[in-house]
């Protein structure tokens, strides 16, 4: 059983190493994010206007929240567009004739490059936050739990992207789907601000949607960890993970029969 899945570990490993070739792309994204963080520090400073807490967070907590959500969403890449491009160019044929599950292959590949980008983007943004608002208190004991919540968030990002990406087997314009998906993460996923910024109805709905598990929940755990929240995030995330992976597997089975590859 372990051997059966070992190949996916090696796929992640090789893509992690391959990502070094794109280090300058990642660094340029990081610099852009650092700039956004600088702007948000100024904006939030006006909102705080001398208040200690906004939405239950201090100003440094709010900025570190942003550092975390930006790193989560930006590092995960554009998987929907990528699958769409593979279908359009016919490259998908190279993956479908191999003895592995295409969706799990894409997951392993995506995780490999995402971890690489996450580390780099988080590190560069963290330097900016550290210089401008200073550190926040983090208990070292919580770090392993944080890593689990982060990996779960990245996995859910993938699961949603894979589901939408496989629609590219049928729909031609995958970039439009990617655009909408990323904007949902920005807003009701909590990337730009904690979900409490929304009217209560939207906030309550967003709290139960998988988008919030990618940005809002892991970032909130990062700035304000509690075991109760952690258990809720894991339970909630695993349920969404199972639902999304099953839906993606079914969609893949259905869509592969409809696949039409260019160049053939």
């Amino acid at each position: 059983m372990i051997n059966k899945y070992a190949k996916y570990f090696w796929i992640a490993e090789i893509n992690f190493r391959n990502s070094f070739a794109y280090i300058f792309d990642v660094i340029s994204s990081s610099i852009f994010i650092a700039l956004i963080i600088f702007i948000f520090i100024n904006l939030w400073s006006i909102v705080y206007g001398g208040r200690e807490l906004v939405f239950g967070l201090t100003l440094p907590m709010m900025i570190w929240y942003l550092v975390f959500t930006e790193a989560m969403v930006t590092s995960s890449g554009k998987l929907i567009t990528e699958i769409g491009a593979e279908v359009k160019s016919g490259e998908v044929a190279n993956y479908l004739n191999k003895p592995y599950n295409y969706v799990v292959y894409k997951y392993a590949k995506s995780i490999g490059s995402t971890i690489f980008s996450f580390i780099l983007i988080f590190a560069i943004s963290a330097i900016v936050a550290l210089l401008l608002v200073g550190p926040i208190e983090i208990n070292l004991i919580h770090i392993p739990f944080m890593i689990i919540a982060t990996l779960l968030g990245l996995t859910l990002y993938f699961a949603m992207s894979a589901f939408l990406g496989i629609l590219a087997f049928w729909i031609e314009d995958s970039q439009a789907i990617e655009f909408v998906y990323s904007k949902l993460l920005f807003t009701i996923g909590g990337m730009l601000a904690p979900l409490a910024i929304w009217p209560p109805v939207i906030e309550q709905i967003s709290l139960f949607l998988p988008f919030s598990l990618v940005a809002f929940y892991p970032a909130k755990l990062f700035v304000k960890f509690s075991f109760d929240s952690f258990i809720w995030v894991i339970g909630f995330g695993v349920i969404w993970g199972i639902v999304l992976f099953l839906a993606t597997a079914l969609l893949f089975r259905f869509m592969s029969k409809k696949l039409s590859i260019n160049g053939g």
């Binding site: 051997n3 090696w10 090789i14 070094f20 191999k98 592995y100 590859i261």
Partner: protein
């Protein structure tokens, strides 16, 4: 002998979404326009173990679609396929262990990493035993002479070196069938020749069944014993290459540059395609007039500066065969 590949009444129809202009685009959402494109139209083929088969045809003829159905990537609209006694669509992942594929325009090597890294990854993907993999790799590295650059990033390799690595990758798991889709595309003549030699060698030594598609008739002619010509989704010729060449490819295109005013031999088998004072392009039907006699006459009447003899383009041969509706 039992067939390694058996195709019976295979048909593939694609539904193509039609793009509308202007306001008609808006109604697309209410009523999508689509038309049907028959990519493969009721073809039947039997291929025996160890055969070298060339699929020839122009763009959009249905060659690659057929190969993709044989490897389980595309689903047929109708018909039955058996490859290595497996159903490619139902048993795609089991079949993957038995086939090797090279799509000339879609490399499988990781571009920024040395080829050896992709070889190691594929050994995991194909569940190869570590010792077997090392033995197989050292055999293939020697056979394809890639030892001197296997540790260099793929992006630094020449096209020919890269393709040799692609072959090693496709053969690592000892496939019994090799699908080669335009493996020599973009290569110069010398590299093409070496790739062709390697395909023949592997077929001979490992009895691998080879299905080759190429626009280049020389590729197919040199490598394959059997040619299957597909045009508009149907088989228009299936037989030996020898017979194909003798019967249908008797025309040559000759480009001549002369130092003196050009004088062309007059014969009904010679048709002038282009003529200037000192140069000309003619087509000669070698069945009606021998090439040697034509050239002898040309050389005796002119002071030849340069001469190029070309095969009749594949599309023309196919067109002729198609027009004659000849089937073996």
């Amino acid at each position: 002998m039992e067939s390694e590949i058996s195709i019976q009444n295979l048909t593939k129809v694609f539904k193509i979404k039609e793009k509308k202009q202007g306001l008609a685009k808006l109604t697309k959402f209410l009523k999508p326009y689509s038309k049907e494109l028959i990519a493969v139209d009721n073809i039947s083929i039997e291929i025996k173990k160890g055969e070298l088969v060339g699929f020839i045809g122009p763009n959009g003829a249905g060659k690659s679609t057929t190969i993709k159905m044989l490897s389980g990537i595309l689903f047929p609209t109708e018909g039955k396929i058996s490859v290595a006694n497996l159903d490619p669509q139902k048993e795609r992942r089991i079949l993957a262990y038995k086939i090797g594929t090279i799509f000339g325009q879609k490399p499988q090597l990781w571009f920024h990493l040395p080829a050896i890294d992709t070889f190691k990854l594929f050994s995991k993907i194909y569940d190869l035993d570590k010792k077997d993999f090392e033995k197989r790799l050292s055999f293939l590295v020697k056979k394809f002479a890639i030892g001197s650059f296997v540790d260099q990033p793929v992006r630094k390799l020449s096209l020919g070196q890269r393709m040799r690595c692609e072959f090693v990758l496709a053969l690592l798991h000892k496939p019994s069938i090799l699908f080669l889709d335009e493996p020599t595309i973009g290569m110069d003549l010398i590299v093409k020749k070496s790739i062709r030699e390697l395909i023949k060698k592997i077929n001979k030594e490992e009895n691998v069944t080879v299905i080759l598609t190429s626009h280049d008739m020389t590729d197919v002619e040199d490598v394959c014993d059997r040619a299957i010509i597909i045009n508009e989704g149907t088989i228009v010729y299936d037989g030996s290459f020898e017979q194909l060449k003798n019967n249908f490819s008797s025309k040559k295109v000759i480009e001549i540059v002369s130092e003196t005013k050009i004088k062309l031999p007059n014969h009904k088998s010679v048709s002038i395609m282009k003529k200037g004072d000192y140069s000309a392009t003619v087509e000669i039907d070698t069945k009606k007039k021998s090439l040697k006699r034509f050239l002898d006459k040309l050389i005796s009447d002119n002071v030849i500066d340069d001469i190029t003899i070309k095969e009749q383009p594949i599309e023309e041969i196919i067109e002729e065969i198609y027009k004659k509706k000849v089937k073996k």
